[in-house]
Amino acid sequence: MSNIQPVTWQDDPAHFRKPSRREFLYSGLVGGLGLTLGDFFKLRAAEQALSEPLVARAEALIHIYLPGGCAHQETWDPKPFAPIEYRGPLSAIDTAIPGVKFSQYMQNTAKIADRITVVRSMTHGEAAHERGTHNMFTGYRPSPALRFPSMGSVVSHELGSRNNLPPYVCIPNMPNEFAGSGYLSTAHGPFSLGSDPAAAGFAVRDLNMGAGITSERFDRRRDILSTVDEHFRTLEKSDSLTAMDSFYQAAYALVSSKEAREAFNLTAEPDAVRNAYGRNEAGQRMLMARRLVQSGVRFVSLTYGGWDHHAGVAKAMEKQLPSFDQAYAALVKDLDDRGMLDKTLVMVSSEFGRTPKINKDAGRDHWPRVFSVAFAGGGFKRGLVYGSSDPTGGEPDQNPLTVENMAATVFNQLGIQPEKKLMAPGNRPIDIVRNGQVVTDLLA
């Protein structure tokens, strides 16, 4: 069994209270009154020693999150030979990997199973939505003392902006509070599109200069703005000021680059491509994600559907899963056809799986002991099923994958050393991933 640790309130900020960055800052700073430059440089030196550059196998990551806790039995890990109360109402189909079966609603994904890695032994102990979500977004067990940054914010911090685009983008919006910058500066928070790519007339607001503003005039405005900002800048220091500044810089970069803005223009995609992904939320969000990583965004986080199926899991799957299936298979194929798959990691996850037994409402309840996640590209093996759950989908059977190991492997592929320490306020070095091992068996 994995090293599942006890689950109590202490592991869970949401259950108790949510320390904001601001609060943390203060306790950290008070604790850190003794911070000396010497300490700081020592830490920096330690960081330097670590930061022998890893070879980045993936340049970007698309995180497809299925909020609510997607049933592994009805998707990646069907149990066709289990008794009916475990098996559930759906049937299983063959995939491109002999002997491996997916849910009946994953026809398209089944055909590309030989290009992806499915992990059927993901495990953690957090059975509440917020706790599980925290794990899957930050790679950390929740703590009441520290708000951890999301993986996207860490990537933003480590890899920075490329081609004038924000490094970390959420489609359509920041999905939950754990997708934020945690103890890192809010400057590493995500950029939210603010509207759904599947909506008619979708456009990201305020990307272009206002009507009638020429770029000469925009430049003059910037110049005047820097003049009137200077007095204040020399006098005041605070994290929110610095963060606001960095967002203005990011905005200037975005506004001044036609290519960057074009990344958000979904209508530039041919109809055939848009249709192949599916003209629905799953399809258009994933297509937007591909456009963004293609243009230089480092980390795209998108959500699709609601998977908290305490009742009527079969009907709910019938409604949501086919769109996901079509879009996901299209995305993997599209990236592969463009030669981008090896450099783009696509990760499908959810906060947990669902109970082995079908409940009285024909649904399944929360189950974090074992569930499934899927990876494609970015140096992960093609056509691998990693780990397994037991015959009723209740416990990991082989090769349990912990949150920490998953996070370590993902960061490793992005060229970020999981054991690197980031400076949390209060002179507190925190590992990007604590005690995570890179799982080389997952990697090509």
Binding site: L25, K237, S240
Partner: protein, 809 residues
């Protein structure tokens, strides 16, 4: 110096139900903890700690060097600071150290009697000390064994230890072979590892209990009534200074017990003050820590300040405007922090306008104010602002958030008509300066139609008694009792009993529909009970941390309303004072303001206590309280730090830079551009802060963080985002409003010179004149005459995009 007279620490004391801290003093700088010793039964013991305060305020533990003797050595004996009983009676413990002396009374009772080992009083604390119920307290237990989380269910714990699985966890024939013992002492494999040493007193106590037959406790067992952690306050030097703490338990039968060895110790700041399992503090780097001890269901804490050894510090003499400054400075002196300078007039005026009215001073107002020479001009300005309608709007907004005023998902939940009536009622009350406790009383006790008596909407928007109890505790006391719905609160005093007792006040709310389907009628149904989830017992109404009133045949909500509004209420006045303080200072004394709990202590308990008392003294007059806060020097400090306070964020040694909240920012943009906005149900020109319904919003407000009031939250907290920057740069708000308002054209038509015109824009937006260098640099742009209107437009645009505009500083 200040610590010499031990501060009353009333905040912590009150929140834990304590009287004043124990001490004995002939020399005020020489103290002994506890201040009296009471030994009950043969096994009793009491450790004492002797503390001396040096002239610079630093505390030292001199227990080992001091001479401890008993006046009557036949009654008790003392060894290494621990007193044990010999014979019944009374005597005194005499303490001497370097010419200083003190004495404390010692009482001994039943010195030859053995006290039977009790499951609740002796064994369960061991589970807590060993943190057994941290893992086994999970809802489904751990590795097959379950204990109630933090011991909320003693009966169940006794059953699971002694009877579950046919009693396999205990072996009464060979107590030392019991699984309970062998798992804990490392003899049997245990996922949690070895917890206690084999010959430790924890193991011995468990064995003694097993030898006695693992009895359950009699029904008349004394219960824990309070816990003391001593000393209550420490000023220590960094690094590596050690100080032992003493924990004393008080029981319902009047006995006390030294439970230092059974308490679980925790610290809020490991890097400044570590605390060992035995309760010994070791200092680390400079900073503040709150050291806590948990015993049974009670957690208590002491404040520890750590300053560098040999630090040179001189307190600057300065004017203290009122009691607030005195109490803030008392703390700062202990921390060796110098407050920042007073801010200048322009900054004060802008800050006071934004905080008190949510608007900016006009350019005329700025100029007039700077020109005035009266020494009391700031105080007079504060008084003037407090009389303005906008002051009421700001507090109506604040309270609308706390009360979650919004329309329901449908008419049945809450119609727009009812929402508007609710908001208008609240606004009216605040405008009339109705005391805050009276507003609370009206809300909590409300009955009738939600249209005619809008306060009853409090019971319409939320109908679940559990949620109503939780929201009430959070809105009116800043206390979050949610934890204790399912288990005793881990870091506060609230038990499941307390929770269900508070819920009982909301269990008899009757609801019916009026003639108009939008009209709902709330009444006292007189029926319905709150039940404890363990055993399904009916729990009668009981005030949080207070008494159980005689409620039979009475309207329970009326009883609660009276209790909340009473000046004796220990939470309400302090919470409201803190809410007011937080609103004007940018952070609460308890922060977040709606998370009052023992493990989240006030940064300055004396200040919080004083503000709470003032509020009662002022008959809960909001305006008078705000006046005190804004007139303090502390409020009027500059944001600019000095070397000593640069890293301090919680002791009000400087002002904080705060972004204007979404509604205020939008209103200020509209104000300086002379434009109007239109919101649902309000006339054109109404301001965003006046919007009644939480559901009414706009792209601007949502992007900058307006809350939808779906959940109770004392502060909107949305940091800066790229979307905000893009919207201000390219969006329709700034650009559109500059065009619509036509301010530039008006100024040009008024034949202003370019310098006058630009100065006017600065005054409006920043509340100050441009500097020479700013004017010179801008002049380069407006030099070309034909471009002038456009350049002025762009200057205006730049001012509204500047951080000096967006932030209150």
């Amino acid at each position: 110096m200040i610590l010499r007279r031990l501060l009353p620490l009333a905040c912590i004391a009150l929140s834990t139900g304590f009287a004043s801290p124990a001490r004995a003093a002939i020399h005020p700088d020489f103290e002994v903890f506890p201040s009296e010793v009471s030994l009950f039964t043969k096994a009793a013991r009491q450790g004492v700690v002797v503390r001396v305060t040096e002239p610079n305020g630093i505390h030292r533990n001199v227990t080992a060097e001091a001479t401890l003797t008993l006046a009557d050595p036949a009654k008790a004996k003392v060894d290494k600071g621990v007193i044990t009983p010999l014979a019944d009676g009374e005597t005194k413990l005499k303490i001497a150290w370097k010419g200083r002396t003190a004495e404390i009374p010692v009482k001994v009772a039943q010195a030859s009697a053995d006290r039977p080992v009790s499951f609740r009083l002796d064994v369960m604390p061991i589970f807590m000390k060993g943190e057994c119920n941290r893992c086994h307290g999970a809802a489904r237990g751990q590795d097959g064994f379950r204990l109630s989380l933090w011991g909320f269910d003693p009966e169940g714990d006794h059953y699971r230890v002694t009877r579950e699985l046919s009693g396999r966890r205990i072996n009464l024939a060979l107590p030392e072979e019991s699984m309970l013992v062998t798992k804990a002492n490392g003899d049997a494999p245990h996922t949690g590892g070895k917890i206690f040493e084999k010959n430790s007193e924890y193991v011995r106590t468990m064995v003694r209990w097993l030898e006695a037959g693992a009895p359950n406790d009699p029904a008349d067992l004394p219960t824990l009534s309070k816990v003391e952690l001593l000393p209550k306050q420490l000023l220590l030097e960094s690094p590596e200074q050690k100080f032992p703490m003493v924990v004393r338990a008080h029981y319902s039968d009047g006995t006390t017990r030294d439970v230092t060895n059974l308490a679980l110790f925790l610290t809020s700041n490991e890097s400044s003050a570590k605390v060992s399992k035995e309760g010994v503090i070791t200092t680390g780097q400079r900073g503040e820590a709150f050291v806590m001890a948990r015993f049974g269901t009670i957690t208590v804490g002491s404040q520890v300040i750590v300053i560098p050894k040999g630090l040179k510090f001189e307190w600057p003499q300065q004017v203290e405007a009122n009691y607030i400054d005195k109490l803030v400075n008392d703390k700062l002196r202990n921390l060796r922090i110098t407050p920042s300078e007073l801010c200048n007039d322009e900054t004060f005026l802008r800050r006071a306008f934004i905080d008190i009215t949510g608007t900016l001073p006009s350019s005329d107002e700025v100029q007039k104010f700077i020109a005035q020479n009266e020494p009391d001009k700031r105080a007079r300005k504060i008084d003037e602002l407090l009389q303005r309608g906008e002051f009421v709007d700001m507090w109506a907004l604040k309270w609308s958030e706390l009360l979650q005023i919004r329309t329901g998902q449908n008419v049945a939940q809450g119609s727009y008509k009812a929402t508007l009536a609710y908001y208008n009622w609240l606004h009216e009350r605040l405008k009339e300066n109705v005391p805050i406790n009276e507003i609370a009383r009206e809300l909590i006790g409300a009955s009738g139609s939600n249209i005619e008596h809008p306060a009853v909407n409090y019971y319409q928007l939320e109908q679940d008694p559990l949620k109503l109890a939780e929201d009430t505790a959070q809105a009116f006391f800043g206390i979050r009792i949610q934890c204790s719905q399912c288990h005793n609160h881990p870091f506060d005093r609230w038990t499941m009993e307390d929770y269900r007792g508070f819920v009982a006040f909301f269990s008899q709310v009757g609801r019916k529909v009026g003639e108009d389907p939008r009209e709902k009628i709330i009444f006292n149904s007189g029926g319905g009970e709150s039940k404890h989830p363990v055993g399904d017992r009916v729990i009668p109404p009981k005030f949080l941390g207070g008494d159980a009133p005689e409620a039979k045949g009475k309207d329970r909500r009326a009883l609660l309303a009276d209790w909340i509004a009473s000046p004796e209420n220990p939470y309400f006045s302090k919470h409201i004072a803190n809410l007011i303080w937080g609103q004007y200072m940018g952070r609460g004394i308890v922060e977040p303001v709606d998370d009052v709990r023992i493990s989240n202590p006030a940064s300055n308990p004396e200040l919080l206590e004083a503000l709470g008392q003032k509020l009662v003294e002022y008959n809960y007059d909001l305006r008078r309280m705000v006046r005190d806060v804004c007139n303090s020097r502390t409020y009027q400090l500059t944001t600019r730090p000095n070397d000593s306070n640069a890293l301090d964020e919680r002791n009000f040694a400087k002002a904080t830079v705060r972004r204007m909240r979404a509604e205020v920012l939008l209103d200020c943009i509209s104000q300086v551009t002379e434009t109007n906005d239109k919101y649902r149900g309000l006339p054109a020109g109404a301001r965003a802060v006046q919007v009644a319904d939480g559901r009414t919003t706009s792209y601007f407000l949502t992007t900058f963080g307006r809350t939808d009031r779906e959940v109770i939250c004392a502060r909107e907290e949305v940091g800066p985002t790229l979307s905000q920057a893009l919207h201000l740069l390219n969006g329709t708000t700034v650009e559109g409003k500059i065009g619509q308002g036509g301010v530039i054209k008006k100024l040009i038509d008024a034949k202003k010179t370019p310098k006058e015109l630009v100065s006017e824009l600065f005054l409006r937006s920043f509340g100050r004149f441009p500097t020479e260098s700013e004017l010179n640099r801008l002049e380069n742009h407006w030099g070309v005459t034909e471009q002038q209107p456009q350049v002025f437009h762009d200057v205006f645009w730049a001012l509204l995009n500047a951080k000096e505009f967006m932030f209150n500083h």
